[in-house]
């Protein structure tokens, strides 16, 4: 994927969350965003998902400039897949219906096609046994894998994952991370916000360290973790890798 962001600004009331953020990447498949809470990483991801409108700045994704009006945003959202922190499955629909509903209603696939695609993905994420279960009957890890399958099923240009494991206990975290690693191997374009540093190292082609609304450091995973340049990143890594 190719992403160019210039002068991106976002405020909530009077609090500046993104402060003239700049980003230019090209030829990266998996981009991982790390940084302290409240530093602006989730906000950036939500803007990239078309869920928030920035006060100013320009974003170009794969040579297309994002237009922040209702109808363009609506069309744009159909081209990206998003996985949220808390599993946002629809509780009144079974696992497979959660995947097929947007395929049929938004992307106008035929029922047979949608079912086939959903089944293939559920099998791939080891959910073959749970196709007809409802979200409350699934564990947190299973729910989150269904949510990932739902986003992947859209065949979107980019997959966005906002701290997909932060609401899970460690035993369930690994099964979700396995699924994401699977996607990385297939060279699926994805942007992941995470607090799991070990996993970030494994999955990232490229890492962004965001704090105080800016990209403070960016680079290949190996160099970022071995030779942090800024004091902020050193401190952050010191804290997160301490225990």
């Amino acid at each position: 994927m190719e992403i160019n962001i210039s002068n991106l600004n976002k405020k909530y009331d009077n609090q500046v969350v993104l402060n003239n953020l700049e980003l230019n990447i090209k030829g990266v498949h998996s981009l991982v965003i790390i940084g302290p809470s409240g530093g602006g990483k989730s906000t950036l991801l939500r803007i990239l998902a078309g869920l928030e409108i920035p006060e100013g700045g320009e974003i170009t994704i794969n040579n297309k400039t994002l237009l922040f009006n209702d109808s363009d945003l609506h069309e744009y959202r159909k081209t990206v897949g998003m996985v949220f922190q808390a599993f946002n499955l629809f509780p009144h629909l079974s696992a497979i219906e959660n995947i097929t509903l947007p395929l049929e209603k938004v992307h106008k696939l035929k029922k047979i096609e949608a079912n086939l695609r959903a089944k293939t993905l559920l099998d791939k994420f080891q959910l073959g046994k749970h196709i007809y279960k409802y979200p409350p009957q699934l564990s947190g890890g299973q729910q989150q894998r269904v949510a990932i399958a739902r986003a992947v099923a859209l065949n979107s240009q980019i997959l966005l994952l906002d701290e997909p494991t932060s609401a899970l206990d460690p035993a369930l975290t690994s099964e979700v991370l396995d699924s994401i690693l699977e996607l990385k191997k297939e060279k699926k374009d994805l942007i992941l916000v995470t607090h799991e540093m070990g996993f970030a190292k494994n999955v990232a082609d490229y890492i962004l360290f965001i704090d105080e609304g800016k990209v403070l450091e960016a680079g290949e995973a190996s160099s970022i973790f071995k030779n942090p340049q800024t004091l902020e990143l050193k401190e952050f890594l010191g804290k997160t890798l301490k225990y």
Partner: protein
């Protein structure tokens, strides 16, 4: 141990055996009968038994069916009015938003009897609607519609906002979001309060007797003015309304189960 199980539920899930159900309900019925026997024995009231009911059977049954018809129509229109009022409440067009808010507050804040008189004698007369049945249905539907609207609004507001966000992120249109994501979840949640509201609607329709709508209560009152046997007459009235409201609460429990998904 076995004996105790007949009178105590094992846990708060209330999985009760058939024999325990029968024994406990009969027990309550027997206690009720003893209580009322005692009360009536103190009254020296000479009961006419079923003779009044049999003599005026036609009026009782006629009124009963009028009440059913009025209730069915009011129920149907109160759902429509309730939904429209909810749309108004959710509207971003402020005059409509405030109109529905104020309208609902006034309807819910004033006694039904005032509304019945005001609508029938003032609004009905001014608009030249003289048919008591049409006015009666309109009044009941409007009154109940205000409550239905609040029930629906509460149901919609209780849906987690992450659901709305997911729907948005997946590219659903506003209409699709309500049609496929919000309403199916709302229906399940509002089923119990809606059933309660409909039971109230049926009972409240008895107030239409004051504008001489020829429904159940009115017929019973007429019979009573001839026979002077209020206890027998009002007992029939009470039974009649239970016959109408009980199926609703039963049906709502069934539907609630049908709409429940895996939890």
């Amino acid at each position: 141990m076995k004996f105790k199980n007949l009178f105590y539920a094992k846990d708060d899930k209330f999985n009760i055996t058939m024999s325990a159900k029968i024994i406990n309900t009969s027990l309550i019925l027997i206690i009720g009968i003893i209580f009322w026997n005692f009360i009536f024995s103190k009254l020296n009231y000479k009961s006419q038994g079923l003779s009044v009911f049999l003599e005026f059977k036609y009026k009782f049954i006629f009124g009963f069916f009028i009440t059913i018809i009025i209730s069915l129509f009011s129920l149907f229109f109160s759902l429509i009015i309730g939904s429209l009022l909810t749309l108004g409440q959710k509207s971003k067009f402020l005059p409509l938003h405030y109109f529905t808010k104020i309208f609902i507050e006034i309807i819910r804040g004033t006694p039904l009897i005032v509304q019945v008189y005001l609508f029938f004698y003032v609004v009905g007369t001014a608009l030249n609607i003289e048919n008591r049945y049409i006015m009666g249905i309109l009044i009941m539907a409007t009154f109940s519609g205000a409550y239905v609207s609040e029930i629906i609004r509460g149901g919609i507001d209780s849906i987690d906002k992450t659901q709305v966000e997911s729907a948005k992120a997946l590219g659903f249109t506003n209409f699709q979001k309500y049609r496929y994501i919000i309403f199916p979840q709302v229906i399940k949640r509002i089923m119990p309060p809606l059933a309660g509201q409909f039971a109230s609607l049926i009972k409240d329709s008895s107030l239409l007797s004051i504008i001489a709508v020829n429904e159940f209560t009115k017929n019973v009152q007429e019979v009573d003015s001839i026979t002077f046997t209020p206890i027998e007459n009002y007992a029939v009235l009470a039974l009649g309304y239970i016959l109408l409201t009980y199926p609703i609460s039963h049906l709502s429990k069934k539907l609630e189960k049908r709409f429940s998904y895996g939890d």
